[in-house]
Assembly symmetry: C2
Homo-oligomer: 139 residues x 2
């Protein structure tokens, strides 16, 4: 828990109580929360917290490379506190997002017509499917 905070000390990143709560909530969290998920959680301990604080904090973390913005869900953004290169799969039934740790970098070669026009800086591989819980329900 202290280790969560250590890397943010100094460097003009103020460790306010709200931010500490957000950092602790995100630490090791693999649930891919939305801004609202974070807001709801932090509100339990800090009832006056605002969405602005949540968005400010995730943006600060993103700028520092500590957080990824996930685009797999067409409806809203999700966040992932694991900034290392990996991918995702979303259940089209319940919306749950899980991690996919396979490294596809070797496989994702681009044709010359694309690489000649774009300097490629990154990629997302998103999978869609139906999880076992949802298969039981809807059949």
């Amino acid at each position: 828990m202290e280790s969560v905070l250590r890397k943010y000390r100094g460097k003009g990143f103020k460790l306010t109580p709200q931010r500490i709560a957000i950092l602790k909530f995100l630490d090791g969290n693999t649930s891919h929360p939305t801004a609202e998920d974070i807001y709801t959680e932090i509100k339990k301990k800090y009832p006056t917290v605002s969405f602005a604080t949540v968005y400010n904090t995730v943006q600060a973390l993103r700028d520092r490379g500590e957080l990824l913005e996930i685009t797999i869900d067409p409806q809203r953004k999700h966040f992932d506190p694991n900034p290392s290169a990996h991918h995702h799969i979303m259940c089209t039934g319940c919306g749950r997002i899980a991690d996919v740790f396979t490294d596809y970098s070797k496989a994702l070669t681009l044709p010359e017509e694309v690489t000649s026009e774009f300097h490629v800086t990154g990629n997302h591989v998103d999978f869609y499917g139906v999880c076992s819980d949802c298969r039981k329900k809807t059949n």
Copy 2:
């Protein structure tokens, strides 16, 4: 042009003037327009067209498998009238989206821990980069 409309006749899909305009705008269009792009275009010929019509129509097309919703842009949805499996690259400078027609299906194998939980139904491979125009400008 007639061929664009042929496949929509019958089957409870009403070919209204607004829809025909949308279908013609989308036919062969590789610009990956947003709802607003479509709205702005159709408004030229039908000044009273509403966003509801645009959204209703793209949803009807999506339901019929004639249109894909693109999630590569975190800010807004884009649409692609080419429903065959392919992928995209977006310029992080100007937001332009281009098609990537490489077939990665063979390469995108998932670990057993994922396939045992999810019945996989689809995937998106999104690339990010900087296009040649934007390299000239910002650099």
